[in-house]
Amino acid sequence: MVPNPLGRAISQILLQGRIISAVARREIQLKAAKGLFGVAGVFFEPLALIGTFLLLRVLIRGAGEGDYINPVLWLASGFVPFFMFTEVAIKALGGVEKGGDLYFYRRLRPLDSLMGNALLSSQIFATLMLLFILGVSAWEWQLAVAVPGFAIFIYLGFSLLGFGVGLSTLILGHRLPILAWIVKTFLRRFLLWTSCIFFPIRVIPDEFRHWILWNPLAHGVELFRQSLNPYYPAPDVSALYFWSWVVGSIGFGLLIYGNNEELLYLSEQLSDADKVIDAD
């Protein structure tokens, strides 16, 4: 009997979905097995940063944002998507070695493991964001998100962008570990200060704005804030630019991954021929 190609494709997609969710579940189980701090630790860094900056705002009255969006939610809407993006990208960069034992099951490909990790990080940070939204909504006694669909759409964009950037640099980072280190530092340090997390884009003068708006994360953060309040001013910010980066990075990442997947399976080998103990 000739198998139906469409049916086969659907069953393959369903199988891949099942494998990805199994990897994500295993990751959270491993975090939970480390004890309470295993899971809570994920929330700690963004919460600590948000707390610190909120404290600074309280001490220096008038600094930061607050006219359009609740200050806590304004900070959270920058930190949470950004940390999710870096977590997804960095895990994709280093996740292949970490998940090495999983490839014992040959049906599981490195891409499944990377997608599973990305799914879990996205779920964890989505939960954190939801907690902030619900908390602020309860505090102000009105729903803190004006356009929930748009918020979800942009949030997914962050997750996919992180995955795309991680996947694009994965193969190069595998070959040149120094490059992986540079990308990690760039993601963690440089982008943190240029992604509109601490300042709204409108406060940047027109002539300097393009120095910030090359960064797709700055577009994403400001768009996310617009989904909370459509009147939030975000001059020159473009959803098209943001999504072009998302689609471009995923496409480029999949392209180089598809051509180099075999590289990821190769372990370091002691290949010096003169060191071989040969029975001959």
Partner: protein, 265 residues
């Protein structure tokens, strides 16, 4: 004469000029096998014999796909299990249930995950409480049985059998019988490849073809009994060589000692 096209259709594993070296100490390698080509057809029951256990096991790892050969290629035309009895994907911090579930999510057919988990629990002999305990707290023999149960829970076109530690297939104990029944169900009408070192009886009982590897080279392919004899002879030859070498060294040392005593006198 077999029809070549039919024979090609029934091919499940093709190994072409594969070589593999394994780490032996710091920055040194030893040869497991070299330049080996092999066709495995559907329904074959093949035992791999070698004087050094690592040779047969390394070849099985390459044929099953959990290891890549240093040179050459291994092609699969169907699903091939990992070496039954081992499982590097198990994590000691996770419970037996979680480890088994992860494997089931990957290999069970849709809608069969729960059934396969029940089968794994039954074959492993773990009760509900133990099954949900971290694997690290399990007795090592129970861990081995769980590895075996997970390996046998899913359908593969080719079953690769590595070293099975704690199962005597000839025993009449209910647990052994349960595993034997499942094992025979899994190989029924399918292909079996087994690493024979350390489990010759199992190999002779279930395999109808053997491969003898000596010094990393394929020296004979055919009757498993003959393979076993060849390997026994090779082991004996190696032992004799070693004994002669040691005796010669002892004699040299003795001569040196006597020479030194005469000099002292």
């Amino acid at each position: 004469m077999p029809n070549p096209s039919t024979a090609a259709e029934h091919l499940v594993i093709e190994a072409r000029q594969v070589s593999k070296h394994l780490p032996a100490g710091v920055a040194e390698l030893r040869k497991a096998f070299a330049d080996l080509s092999l066709d495995v057809h559907r329904g074959h029951r093949l035992a791999l014999f070698s004087a050094n256990a690592y040779e047969a096991r390394a070849l099985l790892d390459c044929l099953s796909g959990i290891e890549r050969p240093d040179q050459g290629s291994v092609l699969h035309h169907g699903s091939v299990s990992w070496p039954v009895g081992s499982n590097q994907a198990f994590h000691n911090k996770l419970s037996g249930y979680m480890n088994a579930r992860f494997a089931a999510e990957i290999y069970s057919p849709p809608g069969k995950v729960e059934d396969d988990l029940r089968l794994i629990q039954e074959v492993s002999g773990a009760d509900d409480r133990l099954f949900h305990q971290p694997l690290g707290s399990w007795h090592s023999s129970m861990q081995k049985t769980l590895r075996l149960a997970v390996s046998l829970a899913f359908d593969f076109d080719v079953l690769a059998v590595g070293k099975i530690g704690n199962w005597d297939h000839r025993e009449l104990h209910p647990e052994s019988t349960r595993i034997r029944t499942l094992f025979e169900e899994r190989i029924d009408g399918r292909t079996l490849i087994m690493a024979a070192p350390g489990q010759q009886k199992l190999a002779l009982d279930y395999c109808d073809m053997g491969l003898a590897i000596v010094d990393g080279r394929l020296v004979y392919q055919g009757d498993p009994e003959i393979c076993l004899e060849l390997i026994k002879e090779e082991k004996q030859r190696t032992k004799d060589e070693l004994r002669d070498e040691y005796n010669a060294r002892l004699a040299r040392l003795k001569d040196n000692d006597e020479g030194a005593e005469e000099y002292d006198d």
